[in-house]
């Protein structure tokens, strides 16, 4: 049998004067400008494009455009490699590098093809059934093997060198698809002056017009389409987008368009044009003109390379001047596919029609017969025979058939090397269904059509199940005007008259969901339904027998319709098989859900320009540059960057953290605490409001004093903590955790606006307005004194937990005597613009007392030594104030505050709650890992009963040993008990339960 080849004439899309060089699997080939990878590789005599997903059967091109599910290729080299592209859509350009996928070691010979011979042992649901046991084998044996065998293409490694864009656009009318219907609708909408966008996934507008036959106003369809396309391109109010796939439709007509801007032309990429662009369109009205997709027929071995859709065979000849082979069979149940036979005959390719209907008397079948094409009605293909390995078709068997017949009675061998099949056409309903559009089954077309939709969207043309050309035009022009009118009722309409069209009449199709096979069913005879996921008719029937009655369950069990093509060609055939297996009608079976995207689109286009520095904004304090200059190690805290520690030359992180801690304990340290959340709360009802928000009382706080407060959510769980200061009778300043500032401000606002709406209170976040530093350590007062305070800083005048507003030298400041280290400590706040100046002056003033800057890790160790909790470390969102031992801060007097009533619920008062305790390891050098589990009994291997977990754990240079805090079941009643913490690798750390305060239990160092 001869191979596919370039015909000597024909090919509307190609330019035979421009030869293009490209490679496929390392082989240097040539094609013409206008070719796709699929047509060019075919023209070079190569039909096999890859191996199938599960059985590793050789596969070739089946479709003409985005419906292609077999011929997936990887395109491009190195970091520009893009896997899983449909060869039918990849436009050829000079130097293009394409590789086939899912084959090892080569396309011609693939070791995985053994799966096809053992397929009796890998039926539907195989993965679920087999790889369940033993569990240990899953991770190291089964999963890697399955992934290697079943994977599609490989993702590129390394950073993507190209740029991508996002764009947000509003339009009055969005027309999806630029075939005859789309062009007509866009023309009508644009005539009203409405702002129109028309998008089509193909490089050229016109859809399938060029292979549909017929004329409009005497013009051939492709000519009519190109006139309309250029008219729209010239219109000022129309934006035309080619190479742009509408990938999804969401509520309120939010539509995402994926434009492949530069993939087809490396020169554009080199010029800096974005590779892809993602359009986020909000459309007043959407017109769905997505056309239809031809459906395959389920016959035995309908996946052999050379079996393709009738439209694909026709397109290959007419668009690219490529013959699918030297002689073929058109297998159909409808009149439309006869056009393929006619086109093939015209091109000099041998062809014969096998029609499953008992009669074929339409205009096209009659024309075919007149041309001398043999037509076998009442017949099906019952077998496809190939040379060894399934690479080349040698012949098919044609059997007589009557509707519903389950097995072959009489058959004859017919030599051929390709098959063009057509089971009818399905409206492309994906976008209609993405957002809840309803569909209904049409008995004449034997397919689903659009029904109702809650959004302003209307389907026209083949997408609406309208296949007669004159009806398409009428419907599309009407929809275009109506859509524009709906958005702009005042628009003056220029009537666009509907042109007259002529097209061959077609007789109705007869559905054929399953063509009986030669020999025993399912022994080497695979009737593929979902090619991409290798799901056969037998798999679907098996799922039925095994009790998967719901079509959604069958889908998941067999993976039918779940591949990247989202069931474009497989959906209805699968339902047809299930219908015959169950005796239910297709509408009774129901449909599975179509999900976005229509075709896969790139992550690059989703990210757009928001990569690298633009990925997430970084918040910097006024001291950021100083930290940077000191070589600080950074810690991300929310969006903030905080200095973790400041290693000096020759120091590692541990050494510098220890130095910083001891400096605070023995001398004095300086911390940039500017990220701390700061919220001003002002108004006559501010005090009462805070009493509602905090667990403890704030209305009794005296002006000029500070109080530590706890906040719960309504469930009774801790959500934030911090010190709040009373600046005046009606004025408070609340401190929150660094990460909690925005959340708590929003939280306060929510209660003010929604529950206690009569409170006269303003909540103003002021975090960024202030730079705030902690001066902590025994010499802190000495440092402060050097800074020329305008107020008395003696212990008597300014005791622990008090506040003063004044000046330090030239700087206006607020000073809080509060401590998160357990040392004598002042937090000084100054307007941010003065921050760096004050910071440097403090450093200078403190030099003689040994003052050094310390970072967030030293801060954490210092607070842990004192047993101070961090919300988010010691708490996990299910921790109450009682659990962490702070029940003393939960007011008994206040009638109501957020979370109070929930703390009384039985489930928070039960026994065995985890309580916060301290831990001292038996070996003082052992540092427990954060999150390590305490177990009731140590066993050789998990599972072991867990009774709690470590919440904070550090090496304390102050104490010369490790310390930790943990939440342990009934921890407070187990003081002195020793717990075991088994670690991965077998080591068990033993630690004694203690009080949480490890250092200065009396708090003597605070009150000096």
């Amino acid at each position: 049998m001869s191979k596919p080849h370039r015909l000597s004439t024909g090919g509307r899309f190609i330019d035979r004067t421009k030869r293009i060089h490209f490679s496929f699997d390392g082989k240097q080939l040539t094609g013409f400008a206008g070719d796709t990878v699929a047509s060019a590789v075919h023209a070079n005599g190569q039909r096999v494009f890859g191996r199938s997903f599960k059985y590793h059967r050789p596969r070739g091109v089946i479709g003409l455009g985005s419906e292609e599910m077999n011929a997936l290729v990887g395109v491009g080299d190195g970091v520009r490699h893009e896997p899983n592209l449909r060869a039918t859509q990849v436009e050829l350009h000079e130097g293009l590098i394409a590789v086939s996928q899912n084959r090892w070691p080569s396309l011609k010979f693939d070791v995985g093809a053994i799966n096809s011979h053992v397929s009796r042992f890998i039926p539907g649901g195989f993965y679920y059934k087999t790889f369940m046991w033993p569990q240990a084998l899953w991770k190291h044996v089964y999963e890697p093997i399955i992934r290697r065998a079943a994977g599609l293409g490989k993702a590129p490694e390394g950073r993507d060198p190209d740029t991508y864009e996002n764009i947000h656009v509003h339009c009055d009318v969005l027309v999806i698809g630029a075939g005859v219907a789309g062009l007509a609708a866009a023309e009508a909408a644009a005539a009203t002056g409405a702002k129109v966008i028309i998008a089509d996934e193909n490089p050229r507008f016109g859809g399938l017009a060029d292979i549909s036959g017929g004329t409009i106003e005497g013009q051939a369809l492709p000519d009519w389409a190109s006139v309309k396309a250029s008219m729209l391109a010239d219109a000022g109010n129309v934006h035309v987008l080619n190479r742009t796939t509408v990938v999804g439709h969401w509520h309120h007509n939010f539509v995402m368009l994926f434009e492949r801007v530069a993939d087809h032309d490396p020169a554009l990429l080199a010029a800096g044009v974005p590779r892809h662009r993602l359009w986020k369109v909000r459309a007043g009205q959407v017109i769905l003109a997505t056309g239809s997709i031809e459906r395959p027929i389920a016959f035995a071995n309908n996946d052999r390379p050379g079996v393709m859709l009738a439209s694909a065979a026709r397109g290959m000849v007419e668009r690219y001047g490529v013959s699918p082979g030297s002689s073929g069979i058109v297998f159909t149940n409808n009149d439309d596919a006869y056009q393929t036979a006619i086109v093939l005959k015209d091109a000099g390719v041998g062809v014969r029609v096998v029609d499953s209907r008992s009669r074929a008397e339409g205009a096209l079948p009659n024309k075919a017969r007149e041309m001398g094409i043999a037509v076998d009605t009442g017949s099906v293909i019952s077998a496809v025979n190939t040379s060894w390995g399934g690479l080349n078709i040698t012949d098919v068997k044609v059997a007589s058939y009557r509707k519903g017949q389950g097995r072959v009675i009489k058959e004859a061998k017919v030599a051929c090397d390709f098959v063009a099949m057509s089971g009818g056409w399905n409206p492309a309903l994906h976008l209609w269904c993405h957002n809840g559009g309803k569909i209904r089954f049409d008995d004449t077309l034997q397919t689903f059509r659009p029904d109702r939709h809650a959004d302003a969207i209307r389907a026209v043309g083949a997408a609406n199940g309208t296949f007669v050309l004159s009806n398409i035009l009428e419907e599309a022009y009407a929809a275009g005007s109506a859509a524009a009118k709906a958005v702009k009722p005042e628009a003056t309409s220029i009537a666009v008259s509907v042109p007259t069209a002529v097209q061959a009449d077609e007789k109705p199709l007869e559905p054929i969901w399953f063509a009986p096979a030669t020999g025993k069913y399912n022994e080497g005879n695979k009737h593929f339904i979902d090619y991409q996921n290798d799901v056969t008719a037998a798999d679907l029937e098996l799922a039925q027998r095994e009790g998967y009655e719901s079509v959604e369950h069958t889908k998941r069990y067999t993976t039918f319709g779940m591949a990247t093509d989202q069931g474009k060609t497989s959906n209805l055939n699968g339902l047809g098989i299930l219908s015959e297996a169950t005796g239910k009608t297709i509408p009774e079976i129901g449909v599975t859900t179509f999900r976005p995207p229509y075709t896969p689109f790139s992550f690059g286009s989703v990210a757009g320009p928001l990569t690298k520095n633009l990925f997430l904004p970084i918040r910097r304090t006024a001291i950021y540059q100083w930290h940077l200059d000191q070589g600080a190690v950074w810690e991300p805290v929310g969006q903030w960057r905080r200095a973790y520690t400041y290693p000096k030359a020759g120091e590692d992180k541990h050494a510098s953290i220890d130095r910083e801690i001891l400096c605070v304990r023995n001398k004095v340290g300086l911390l940039d605490a500017s990220t701390l959340g700061k919220i001003e709360i002002k108004g006559p009802d501010a005090a009462e409001f805070l009493d509602r928000m905090y667990t403890n009382m704030f209305s009794t706080l005296k002006v000029g004093k500070c109080r530590y407060g706890l906040m719960m959510n309504e469930l009774g769980f801790l959500s934030d903590d911090g010190v709040t200061v009373r600046l005046g009778d009606d004025h408070f300043l609340m401190h929150t955790t660094s990460g909690g500032a925005d959340r708590i401000a929003a939280w306060l606002e929510e209660w003010l606006q929604t529950e206690w709406t009569h409170y006269r209170v303003f909540v103003t976040p002021v975090t960024e307005q202030w730079s705030q530093f902690a001066i902590a350590g025994p010499r802190a007062r000495d440092v402060l004194a050097k800074l020329e305070p305008s107020f008395d800083i003696s212990h008597e005048a300014l005791p622990h937990m008090s506040f003063v507003e004044g000046k330090l030298g030239p700087y206006p400041i607020r000073l809080f005597r509060i401590s998160f280290s357990g040392e004598l400590s002042y937090e000084v706040a100054t307007p941010s613009n003065f921050g760096l100046g004050l910071w440097k002056d403090i450093l200078a003033a403190g030099a003689e007392f040994g003052l050094e800057a310390y970072g967030t890790e030293a801060l954490h160790v210092l607070r842990a030594e004192k047993g101070y909790i961090v919300v988010g470390d010691e708490t996990d969102g299910t921790t109450t104030p009682v659990d962490v031992g702070l029940d003393g801060l939960v007011s008994k007097k206040k009638a109501d505050f957020i979370g109070k009533r929930s703390l009384e619920q039985s489930y928070l008062k039960g026994p065995d709650r985890k309580q916060l305790v301290g831990l001292l390891t038996e070996d003082p050098n052992d540092v427990l890992p954060d999150g390590a589990y305490a177990v009731r009994h140590v066993k050789d291997k998990p599972p072991m009963e867990m009774i709690g977990q470590v919440t904070s754990s550090y090496k304390s240079p102050t104490l010369g040993r490790s310390i930790a805090m943990a939440l342990i079941q009934n921890g407070r009643s187990r003081m002195g008990e020793t717990l075991s913490f088994p670690l991965p690798g077998g080591k068990v750390i033993r630690a004694k339960i203690t009080d949480t305060v490890f250092y200065d239990k009396e708090g003597a160092k605070l009150n000096v």
Binding site: H252, F254, R282, E714, A746, E750, E755, A895, R901, E904
Partner: protein
């Protein structure tokens, strides 16, 4: 992606510019009489939410706009917003008439209380 409109500042935008705040008109029992809240009442307040097919009353916040909370009535099938109204207000009378479940009871009580005053 829904289009939401703030009745306070008039800003209209994608739902990502707003913050969805869940079911509206949930009464917080502890606000009025904290001493008599039963475990069941508190449980219902915390966890029990109405999830109807059709008319839904919900809370939204104008996140990237004025920052105000407001109420919206939305059809959960068609996704159509039927009304936007203030956070302390009741929905328009025609929607009150259509309200079902806990909302019907809540609106009736509120209307009764208002007529007494």
């Amino acid at each position: 992606m829904l289009i939401v409109k703030c009745p306070v500042c008039g800003a209209e935008g994608d739902e990502t510019d707003f913050h969805a705040g869940g079911q509206a008109h949930v009464r917080r029992p502890a606000t009025s009489d904290p001493s008599s809240v039963t475990d069941e009442e508190q449980r219902d307040y915390l966890f029990i939410r109405h999830n109807p097919k059709g008319l839904h009353f919900e809370r939204w916040r104008c996140d990237r706009g004025c920052g105000k909370w407001f109420h919206a009535a939305r059809d959960t099938v068609t996704m159509e917003f039927k009304a936007y109204y203030g956070i302390t207000e009741l929905p328009p009378a025609d929607l009150i008439a259509q309200a079902k479940g806990p909302w019907a009871e809540y609106f009736a009580n509120r209307l009764k209380a208002e007529t007494k005053v």
